[in-house]
């Protein structure tokens, strides 16, 4: 799994390299737009982490050039907190996700993995949360090494929660996903499925929890060690 990190701050680049390396990625680190574009011309990367404030130009411009040139590499943009409009611009320019500086390294790794898990992404097949594994092709779920059998609707809900690990999945989104499976959806269908999933997780000793954000949706987190 090869990542390109474009970050001009030497120490931050070093830390990114080190921690992403520890997480099992091969990391190339560059410090300017020019170098990045040159590198992308010769190598293929599974994802790119792009800082917006670079010495030889705006990261957003590079992003625009890459996308208009047909480059589909998943890109995670790093943006300073006070440049709040940048993140909107960044997403408009074709970034796949953004993180606000300063960020927790665990968050960066999780987001990077999420990018790679997207359809067509390098990690496309297996989703992971704690000791819960979800194979999106075989639709097999294992907790630890024990397989967990799930009905189709529950597995669809779990897939979405796992794709958005650590983030709120609105109940509306889940309902839309289920409409495809079952056109006659009960109004309390989602809560019922979530309830079943929770019980199965607890029974199987899953190191992941489904939290309810009342009024909004659901949130899957890894259980703290």
């Amino acid at each position: 799994m090869r990542l390109l990190v474009v970050e001009d701050e030497v120490r931050i680049a070093e830390i990114l390299r080190k921690s992403l390396g520890k997480a099992g990625f091969a990391v190339d680190s560059l410090a300017s737009c020019g170098d990045a574009q040159a590198a992308l011309g010769v190598c293929t990367y599974d994802a790119m982490i792009l800082d917006l404030g670079l010495p030889d130009g705006d990261g957003l411009a590079l992003l625009g050039r890459l996308r208009s040139g047909g480059d589909q590499t998943p890109i995670l943009v790093l943006t300073p907190r006070d440049a709040i409009e940048d993140r909107v611009n960044g997403l408009d320019a074709g970034a796949d996700d953004y993180l606000v500086k300063p960020f927790a390294m665990t968050e960066l790794i999780a987001r990077t993995k999420a990018l790679l898990r997207r359809p067509g992404g390098a990690l496309g097949t297996t989703l992971k949360a704690g000791n819960v594994n979800f194979d999106t092709i075989g639709r097999d779920v294992t907790i630890g090494s024990v397989p967990l059998l799930l009905p189709r609707r529950e597995s669809a809900i779990l897939e979405h929660l796992m794709r958005r690990l650590g983030r709120v999945v609105p109940k509306l989104v889940l309902e839309e996903k289920l409409y495809g499976i079952d056109d006659e959806l009960e109004s309390n269908a989602i809560p019922v499925h979530i309830h079943h999933l929770r019980r199965k997780f607890a029974d199987a000793g899953a190191a992941a929890e489904i939290h309810t954000v009342r009024g909004l949706g659901y949130l899957l987190t890894e259980t703290k060690a």
């Binding site: 701050e9 921690s19 520890k22 300073p80 907190r81 500086k101 709120v168 954000v213 949130l219």
Partner: protein, 463 residues
């Protein structure tokens, strides 16, 4: 107070006008009274002269060729009063006639009168012990030269008193009134002339750290004051620059702190260690939050926020709650979104409103005990409530908490005391307000309230 009143330009001018007015009035009235007396005296003298001539006309020689006074009855009756006296002497000084006779006795001792009238005064004379004023004059008559003395009681000077009375009552009383009217007009003129200065003073009094861009208008001011006001304006320019520099410094400092902080944060994440490391991480995250807030403050101070967009409070609140829910769950608090199924439109800046709400939610979660709930409620009346189950805010602190760098007794939360001041500034920029009340079930309720959206027919619209 009295001191300051007399220090006012208006009062000074009034006093300085009033003093010469009163002096001029006193001189003017005095002069007029003097003139009146003088005129009256002259008239009196002429009157006495005429009387003397009158009497001389009625002196004629008797058969013995001696002069004899033969006054007509009417005139004789007039001289019966004690107020008027006369004495007629012949060329040899013999009294021909006198009324009363005591006057004749007195006059007999006097040297004969000349053609030039001589005036005299008598004190305490006669039966009534009155003061008299009179003249002696030598006159020709049918019976030869005569010395005639005529006198009149001073108090009986009817002409003079009549003149004076007429003057004082008909004319002189107008003068103080005129002076008073002039003074009042003067004071009013000064007041209206000074009004622009008062207006400018009021404007100047309202200038504070948040309104450093205000300048005092010089258009309508008297030219004498314009240099002063211009100088004040230039001083304000310099102050504003100072303020801007200060803000820029804060922003730059916070900005510069961010990179080393990001490095420390990242490095700590990579390190493996014991409980000390976890503490260090929480210290660093607190510092991150502080730097973050400083930057937000600097941004609020520095640039005018664009609050002209039409935004949906319901959507903003939902997004903010969704963004903060993972953090809340990590803090072992539940967060509840009590939204609406329709839009609540206001004009404002969505990012800023999100900032404000995030600050409130952060506070609510940090100040409430674990396993409790924080509720974010959107109401159709363009407000967002954040309800927590924490210790609440004591009534005495409810205004203080919005001050910059104010921290309650619960310093343990590790806040810098900037969050709520940021919220208030954001709400001020939206012409809205933030308030805090006690939650009936314990804890606090913070409310962001937005004004009715300008240009929108209805602020809540069904989707």
């Amino acid at each position: 107070m009295i001191q300051t009143r007399f220090r006012s330009l208006q009062m000074r001018l009034a006093v300085r006008l009033a003093i010469p007015y009163i002096i001029a009035m006193a001189i003017g009235v005095g002069f007029l009274v003097y003139q009146a007396y003088d005129t009256a005296g002259t008239l009196n003298d002429r009157d006495l002269n005429l009387r003397a001539i009158d009497i001389a006309r009625y002196v004629s020689p008797d058969p013995d060729d001696k002069p004899l006074l033969n006054l007509p009855a009417k005139l004789a009756a007039a001289y019966q009063s004690s107020a008027d006296m006369f004495a007629v002497r012949d060329a040899r000084g013999q009294i021909i006639a006198a009324s009363p006779p005591s006057f004749g006795t007195l006059v007999a001792a006097w040297p004969p009168a000349t053609d030039d009238a001589s005036y005299f005064r008598l004190k305490n004379f006669g039966s009534e012990s009155e003061d008299y004023y009179g003249l002696s004059v030598g006159l020709e008559s049918a019976a030869g030269p005569l010395s005639i003395s005529v006198a009149q009681a001073a108090g009986a000077n009817a002409l003079v008193s009549a003149l004076l009375r007429e003057f004082v009552f008909d004319v002189a009383w107008v003068i103080p009134l005129l002076v008073l009217a002039t003074l009042v007009i003067g004071v009013l003129a000064i007041r209206s002339g000074l009004r622009p200065i008062r207006d400018v003073s009021e404007m100047a009094a309202a200038i504070g750290p948040n309104t450093t861009s205000v300048r005092l208008p010089v258009d309508n001011l008297p030219s004498e004051v314009t240099p002063l006001v211009s100088a004040v304006n230039r001083a304000l320019d310099r102050l504003e620059q100072g303020f801007a520099l200060q803000r820029k410094f804060t922003a730059n400092a916070a900005h510069e702190l961010r990179t080393p902080l990001a490095i420390i944060t990242g490095a700590l994440d990579v390190m493996e260690g014991n409980g000390e490391l976890a503490k260090l991480k929480s210290d660093v995250s607190r510092m991150n939050r502080l730097v973050d807030q400083l930057l937000r403050v600097a941004r609020l101070d520095g640039v005018a926020m664009d609050v002209s967009n039409e935004v949906d409070l319901n959507e903003i609140a939902a997004n903010t709650v969704a963004a903060m829910a993972p953090w809340a769950v990590a803090q072992e608090r539940a967060i509840i979104f009590d939204g609406l199924d329709r839009q609540v439109l206001v004009t404002g800046n969505g990012h800023a409103i999100e900032d404000a709400l995030r600050n409130l939610i952060e506070n609510a979660i940090l100040h409430s005990p674990p396993q409790t709930e924080v509720t974010v409620r959107v109401s159709p009346e363009r407000s967002i409530n954040v309800v927590d189950a924490g210790p609440g805010i004591s009534p005495g602190d409810r205004e203080l908490i919005f001050e910059r760098f104010w921290r309650g007794k619960a310093v343990a939360s590790g806040g810098a005391g900037l969050g709520l001041s940021i919220v208030r500034e954001i709400m001020n920029a939206h012409q809205g307000s933030i308030s805090v009340e006690a939650n009936p079930n314990g804890g606090a309720v913070f409310t962001l309230h937005f004004p009715r959206a300008a240009g929108l027919e209805s602020s809540t619209q069904s989707i």
